[in-house]
Amino acid sequence: MEGFIRKSPCLREPMGHASAIAASLRAGVGHAVALIRARGLLKTYPTASSGEVTALQNLDFEIFDGEFVSVVGQSGCGKSTLLKLLAGLLPATTGTVELNGKPLYGPSSEAAVVFQSPVLLPWRTVLDNVLLPIEFRGLARSRYRASALELLEMVGLRDFAQRYPFELSGGMQQRAALVRALVQDPRLLLMDEPFGALDAMTRELMNIELLRIWSQSRKTVLFITHSIAEAIFLSDRVIAMTPRPGSIADIITIDLPRPRDLSIINTERFGHYVAYLRPLLDAKGGIS
């Protein structure tokens, strides 16, 4: 089994087929371009009683252009903190984040966030919600209306453009939130357990849909989840996090063919990945 799991201590090693090809094509000379480069990330929070608590430590990783990378770990391991650091919503205590070669000091127009809850504004229609980032960025709504409707069509919400969020089911609301992120045409999608609140069936459907959308739009995705199966099913690479304080236990490459469907979950290879990842997420040493 050891030989089966391809660890990637050197990140220039081949990744999943599609992204490796895409990345090398973009780089032109066979060297993948890092869209995100995190170096020595450390995040501590002050506590009410004494001193501070460490949420994340010693985080070094890269995410390449066009890649789908998941971060998997137990709840409370700092996954969401990591996403906020990468989104520029929180400053790192020490360490740096580079987005597309430039150090990140705040929210970037090249990255869009999909939150745990859909966060749709109830007084706006679906279309107006989707166009909200356009308004925030001071761009002309009229120029993005057509592409917003096209994206709504892609996720099957074209007929609901003029409806209000309370008329939509949970899954539909989260799809609208995804469109709201995509309408900004970001290079990087940061997704923070976006399907965590959905029931298991809807969640599987949303996973398949997300892969379809990803393959069409070719965005780079960083996907936070606490589900090992979800991480393996979706990703080119999986970053496994240890419990608090969160650090990287391992980064593994998922060598499963694309396009994927749910039957892949029953393959032996998929099971090996699950068996390898599960102990990593528990306390150090893998004893659970």
Partner: protein
């Protein structure tokens, strides 16, 4: 996918659709059946107390006398000082002007003090101190400051209506979902956009709750202002009838004040339904 949408009929305030088809007219329209029945019972009890139990007319005037006094007062022209319309108009004007001033200031300050916590925290002791002061105790002072004109009544009404709106606006600000603010920040929203597109609309349900309370309090402010010294208004009329022991017209003024208060509150409710329709619907949708 269409079946996933929440059925519009399910979120109507009249209750789930099963009830609509089952229950009789009483269940469907309690406000048109039970409410008038309560009124009839109250009137019958009143009539009984006066005509059968023999309550003296200077304590409880019989309903027919109150009706006569009301008809007599309302049959005069609106500019006739001896009629009710003139005085009702004065009182309503004082109440509305004070309400507009007080609630506008309350909403504005509530927003400012919440958005810039330094301002809020430094002025908090004064707000609490002034809030715990019984505002009607200031009414005699109004005569000293403003004389017997309308300004004093508008001023005391403004002070009384200011607090419920301020307090509700601050509560509304605290209740803005942090995810909504994070969404705006992740899109690099300006401070102005954050306020106008996220925070102020989010506060609207709380603001309207405050306005509903303030609308009723505004009548109290105007009437108390007239009690301590006025040349016109329903409060002044009330004092006159009280001193001359004309109890039947006094009762009709009380009724009139109740009706004005009810109508003002109802008007606020109508405006709320126009601009805040999403708040109740979202709550109902979240429960189903």
């Amino acid at each position: 996918m269409t079946s996933q949408a929440v059925n519009m009929r399910e979120i109507e305030p009249s209750g789930p659709p099963m009830r609509v088809t089952q229950g009789g007219i009483v269940r469907r329209y309690p406000q048109l059946t039970i409410s008038p029945a309560i009124l009839a019972a109250l009137l019958a009890g009143w009539w009984l107390a006066c005509n059968i139990l023999g309550a003296p007319a200077y304590v409880l005037p019989p309903p027919q006398e109150v009706l006569q006094a009301t008809v007599r007062g309302l049959s005069r022209a609106p500019w006739d000082v001896a009629g009710y319309w003139y005085h009702a108009g004065i009182t309503l004007w004082e109440a509305l002007a004070g309400f507009a001033l007080g609630s506008a200031l309350g909403a504005f300050l509530g927003l400012i003090l919440s958005h810039w916590p330094i301002l809020g925290r430094s002025s908090y002791p004064y707000i609490v101190g002034f809030q715990s002061l019984p505002k009607v105790a200031l009414a005699p002072l109004m005569v000293v400051w403003f004389g017997f004109g309308l300004e004093g009544k508008v001023f005391i009404t403004a002070i009384i209506t200011f607090f419920p709106v301020l307090v509700n606006m601050m509560a509304g600000y605290q209740a803005v979902e942090p995810e909504r603010i994070e969404l705006a920040r992740s899109c690099n929203a300006s401070e102005r956009h954050l306020l106008t597109k996220i925070i102020i609309p989010s506060c609207l349900p709380f603001l309207f709750a405050g306005l509903g309370v303030a609308s009723v309090l505004s009548i109290i402010g105007a009437v108390v202002g007239e009690f301590v010294g006025a040349r016109a208004g329903l409060g002044m009329l009330l004092m006159q009838y009280n001193q001359s022991m004309e109890i039947a017209p006094l009762f009709s003024i009380i009724l009139l004040l109740a009706i004005i208060g009810f109508l003002m509150n109802h008007a606020i409710g109508l405006i709320e339904r126009r601009y805040c329709f999403w708040a109740q619907r979202s709550r109902v949708a979240a429960r189903t």
